[in-house]
Symmetry: C2
Subunit: 107 residues, 2 copies
DNA sequence: AAAAAGTGTAACACTTAGTGTTATAGATAG
DNA sequence: CTATCTATAACACTAAGTGTTACACTTTTT
């Protein structure tokens, strides 16, 4: 199912652009286009412990508050920042939302 | 640390309101207020398998697309909907964002 | 009509994130 | 001086996450 042979993001980029044109031309409705967007989401880059810590510092949040915002436990956030555990997929998604859209997007 | 004795959300509601007043009165700055918001976030209600399925149907997404959006695996979404596994905390958070703010908030 | 692709159920086994707990410690507020 | 907040660290248990396979149904393509 997943190609994953050719670096992917390049290919998807191209395909996505093409789909965008089709949309403008009226061959793909808005809903289909959104689904397309979703499937083409490139996997979120892993957040290192230092990057998580930096992100948290940038927003001036304590580990406890960040845990609340992400709906996870304090213990978990701690271990991310120490490097003992890696954030799961959904956690990475939330981190990237915080990164790109700010705290308000998660409240 | 966590009281968790008296139903909590009631208490937090009250405290939060009080803090809001303090903010208006100028005793708490905006940043502190946001942190307060975050800590007072009431834990997200669990999404049942049928509710997840309904949410997905409402947005007309396939299981595969939903998995992409939440940055998790197809296998995981399947098991949520069959009721074999429960979504983790961060996953619940993402589901509630999709629920309340729509797909765009996750792209 | 037949083949191919998309969608979903089901079962299985493995890995690892998530969690709670406890002890320790520095900083800071009351 | 002592609580409280903040964070590190180690530990063990549970359950979520994942990949895989096989099967079935529907829709699309050739």
């Amino acid at each position: 199912m997943k190609p994953s042979k050719p670096s992917k993001s390049r290919v998807l980029e191209f395909v996505h652009e093409a789909a965008g044109d089709l949309h403008k031309a009226g061959f793909i409705d808005k809903r289909r286009m959104r689904q397309f967007d979703a499937l083409c989401l490139q996997p979120i880059a892993p957040y290192s412990s230092t990057r998580i810590r930096a992100l948290r510092a940038r927003h001036r949040l304590s580990q406890a508050v960040l845990a609340s915002v992400l709906n996870t436990s304090l213990s978990t956030v701690r271990q991310w920042e120490i490097g003992q555990k890696q954030p799961s997929g959904p956690s990475l998604k939330l981190l990237s939302i915080l990164d790109k859209r700010g705290l308000e997007a998660l409240l």
